[in-house]
Symmetry: C2
Subunit: 155 residues, 2 copies
């Protein structure tokens, strides 16, 4: 397979987050690369994060390793222990089970572009959002008291 | 974990390829990101490919998905059905089991830099090198008649 023709891969800003947690990711436009390429062991998304948008709510995964490669632009990585600026060529890794909520915020006036690759046990994965009343499990989003949100998760 | 400090991760050009197949990868300087970050489900390498160097011998994997993100510079992707130029921001995916030998050649006068992420069944992985008399299995490199090369594979 030659290099990917990204324009041929559908782009979406869909999210399963219940309101109001969906608002910060409206400017997260992503392409799923595994379905487009036939990969079944590795998942990846190509993401264009518009000014002001977040990559996700701050979260961590029990069973999934994540690796981010910034291609262009700049974003602020927010984690439990503070913030750092991520620029083109920078790499961030989040090993499964490390309970350190993370996300990127684009605080600039230009889009930033990155790829996130991920692998692990999707059928048993779950995790938490430390800043909001939400956790995730394979079958959806829940409040921390265990009651389910009425939206479908997009894994 | 904040963004990776690449300078703190050991860089090597080690290869297990037997001579003369090791010559084209002498200018492939790579850092293994999984051991440095605690990832156990996803593997990744940060690679600086010097002018003239190849990313590997042309190969394919039975059990491993591979995804490459070019960060800077330029290389030529060589596959069974021809060549294509890969530049900063380009992405290439090689799904497990697709018998399409692939590698990158840096034919420019400047280094190029990329990240390759990979996931799959490393304990049963193997594959072939279509251009040379070599195959790989978890326990090493072999000629196509099944006799083993006397080098240790670096998975």
């Amino acid at each position: 397979m030659p290099k990917l023709d990204l324009t041929s891969i559908p782009q979406t800003n869909a999210t399963g987050y219940p309101a109001p947690f969906d608002a910060p990711v409206q400017g997260r436009n992503y392409r799923r690369l595994a379905p487009a390429t036939g990969m079944e062991r590795l998942r990846a998304s190509h993401v264009v994060l518009e000014p002001g948008a977040w990559s996700s709510q701050r979260h961590w995964h029990r069973e999934i390793d994540e690796l981010l490669v910034m291609i262009s632009g700049e974003a602020v990585l927010v984690e439990d222990d503070g913030e750092s600026v991520v620029q083109a060529g920078d790499i961030v890794a989040w090993p499964a089970g490390k309970e350190n909520g993370h996300h990127l915020q684009n605080r600039t006036d230009e889009p930033c572009v990155f790829v996130v690759a991920a692998a692990g046990q999707y059928d048993t994965d779950g995790g938490e959002y430390p800043d909001i009343d939400m956790v995730f499990e394979p079958d959806g989003y829940f409040r921390k008291d265990g009651t389910k949100y009425e939206t479908d998760r997009i894994p």
